[in-house]
């Protein structure tokens, strides 16, 4: 398989993030290239989720600069991230449990809808055409993730692995150029993990989506990532190709020495 990895699209320079006196991230720099699968790993409390939240605009680092497609990013809110085509999934599933799979995925299209609330409520004018068009996109996502059989099932009734897949579906419905995963395999059994890996690789391969991934499971990360960043106690202790990281002594110490 040949894959074209493009230029740097996200560049984080000397990021530090504090919550009061707690240093969550200290002087971290790394970049993400277009079309790659970039993983952030580290033991519990290493600052992985904080890092993701910085990328996503949920947290605002006190120090450091962020460049998105070469332009420095000022203070950004999460909805602006969505408008910039960055989508994410959550560590704890954040779906609407009472709504069907179809409707949940439809919510991923919300930033693309132009018609207003009243038009939607009356299903009138452009709202109608728009919905049909969005529904088609949603169906493509359903087809892609092979969840046709649960299209109309309320999400709350699905097993965990499938809920995760639906969450991925909602993120995909936004047609993101960058997709952030927060521990997509946590709590899954082996088969569900394999499925999820396959979908992540397929998304990356078919749509060219850049993927930033936080994961605990070293085996999974090493298999699917192009490059890996390792964090420990808010500091970067390794960065590079999976094989290099695997043999990095600091990384081994952080994982084995710290009891993980």
């Amino acid at each position: 398989m040949s894959k074209k990895i493009g230029d740097v699209i996200l560049d984080l320079q000397n990021i530090s993030l504090r919550f009061g006196g707690v240093k969550a991230l200290t002087d971290i720099s790394f970049d993400v290239r277009e079309h790659e699968i970039r993983s952030i790993i580290g033991p519990n409390g290493a600052g992985k989720s904080s890092m993701l939240n910085v990328i996503n605009g949920v947290y605002h680092p006190q120090e450091g600069r962020i460049f998105w497609h070469g332009n420095e990013r000022k203070k950004m809110e999460p909805h602006m991230a969505a408008q910039q085509n960055i989508a994410r999934t959550f560590q704890n599933i954040a779906l609407f449990k009472g709504m069907s799979v179809l409707d949940n995925i439809m919510t991923g299209r919300i930033t693309k809808m132009k018609s207003n609330f009243i038009e939607h409520a009356l299903w009138f004018g452009r709202a109608k055409n728009e919905e049909l068009e969005h529904r088609k996109k949603v169906e493509e996502v359903i087809d892609f993730l092979e969840i046709q059989h649960i299209r109309k099932t309320p999400v709350g009734r699905l097993p965990y692995g499938l809920q995760k897949r639906v969450e991925l579906g909602r993120a995909l419905a936004a047609e993101p150029s960058m997709l952030l995963f927060d521990e997509p395999m946590a709590g899954m059994n082996v088969e569900e993990k394999q499925d999820m890996c396959r979908f992540i690789l397929d998304v990356n391969d078919q749509f060219g989506t850049t993927i930033v991934l936080i994961e605990h499971d070293m085996g999974v990360v090493m298999d699917i990532s192009d490059r890996v960043v390792v964090l420990d106690y808010g500091k970067k202790i390794g960065d590079g190709l999976p094989d290099d990281v695997k043999n990095n002594e600091d990384v081994i110490r952080a994982y084995l020495g710290a009891g993980h």
């Binding site: 398989m1 040949s2 529904r135 088609k136 169906e139 493509e140 359903i142 087809d143 092979e146 046709q148 059989h149 299209r151 109309k152 397929d202 391969d205 078919q206």
Partner: protein, 655 residues
Amino acid sequence: MPTQANYAALDGLHTFPRLLFNHARTRPHSPAMREKYLGIWQTWTWSDVAERVRALACGLSELGFKRGDNLAIIGDNRPHLYMMMAAAQCLGGVPVPLYQDAVAAEMLFVLQDAGIRFAIVEDQEQVDKLLEVRDQLPNLEHIVYDDPRGMRHYNHPFLHDIHELMEMGRIHDRNHPDFINGEVEKGHYDDTSVMLYTSGTTGKPKGVCQTHAAFIAAAQGGVQVDRMGADGDILSYLPMAWVGDHLFSYAQALVAGFTINCPESGDTVMSDLREIGPTYYFAPPRVFESLLTSVMIRMEDAGKLKYKIFHHFMDVAKRCGADILDGKSVSLGNRLQYWLGNLMVYGPLRNVLGMSRIRVAYTAGAAIGPDLFKFYRSIGINLKQFYGQTETCAYVCMQPDSEIKFDSVGRPAPGVDIKIADNGEVLVKGPMLLKEYYKRPDATAESINADGYFLTGDAGFLDEDGHLKIIDRAKDVGKLANGAMFAPNYIENKLKFFQYVKEAVCFGANREQVCAFINIDMGAVGNWAERRGIAYAGYTDLACKPEVLELLRECIEQVNADLVHDTMMADSQVHRFLVLHKELDPDDDELTRTRKVRRNFVAEKYKVLIDALYEGKANQFIETEVKFEDGRRGKVSADLKIVDAKTFPIAKKAA
């Protein structure tokens, strides 16, 4: 009566491609195929299908496909795969559908045996399987795939997207407009139209070559018996390699001209069934059983009033529903009640099951329990059984409307001649017999006798109304010491109709009386025990409980009471039985992978128990080694009680 010889006369429509193009000519805008794509049902009319088949046939010919070549077809039921079947037949080739869930190594034998040069597969998964064994398939030249997903990085020159093939074919068709018509004209009803492989439970699979004439005869017979028209719908969801699917979804669809509907995926069959509401439906007994179970479980959770209404009208249905369906005379009171029940219960229930429009539903492949069978018939679903095998286009016996018996497979179908051999084996003759086994003249000669009858290998008899009853595989049928027929499978099936009995093995060949091993159904018996407050620690413990043995004794005595009325089987009443201390398991070689009992192996392994049964002992200790799924071994031991069951005096002998 349709016979092979007079096909040349029937409007010249004696091959499947001719039938297809005739539909496209006479009713171009009627729907021929539907498939759900991106959540919406897409329809192809007969003229759409004909156009695509033409394009595919021309494309195949461009790739070098010639008369007599075999085309492997691997995938779920997809319209393009059915079209490919017709395309191969247009060129005088032979489609060879394979079971799509087999792993590459299992497909290898068929692919080699059929000398496959061309394959059409559904998707990346199947392409990968073929690539895996490609070095062992020197003849394989081209693979065409239907679904391009995930195929972007495959750049082997022998891989083709089906749309690419169609485009190639359309150009060819424009340049040589007479080519396909000429090829179709060359097709003869006596050519092999399809090759279906037997499952190979006994030895290597054999390729059964069926002619156009044979399948058209079988399809016409079925269409005639069930009066099927061009306005029907069928849901095509069973493997394309299975003879039944080929008969229903291909042969009958082309003969009668009804619409085939391909489900979105294997997991959506039930919801697709409801959306399509087919008029014609086939399912193995276990599907009907699980549908019924899910209905019953949901009724348990229903409100009191609904629960009462449901059960009241189910009693009405039980009383007179089947008779109304059969057109027998039923009292006015019952008719009124049934009418009301239809309004309130049966109609909505049929709708939920996706069976509102069903004219005929078929089941076959395994014995169906009488209660299950009667349930569907009583709520107005015309459920019937048929009998046949790959070698006879799945067309030997059918149950005609209003002559339904749950324990027979019906009368010989139109044009079929049945004879019972001296050893009880069913012999069949008719226009639907196989032409030959592919490259196996020895097997062909063995299976057809001097008078042209095919040896089915099943034992059976014709009852007083001329209905065929299948009792067992002929090789399993033996005789009791007093000379009466002993068909173990027949008795075992009767036992297995009880929900508490998972598996049964009967012994009795050359012995005075019949004895049985029973495996209890852990789910059903466990549930039964819990409701009675009987504590148990596991399968072995539960199987040894005196209450459980008592429960099974009642089941067996019911079977005995039933058997005594059976003229041929009255001597086969079960005298003694025991409940095995472990479940029979394929991992221990006691069952085949398709979960059939390996009778001789079991008899040998548990010889000590059989001896105990016949020596009249009251109990017997046994210890057995078992293999666990992860490869570990362990031992199970128990002291098994042997129970005597009541038998009934045989009426004829007493009189």
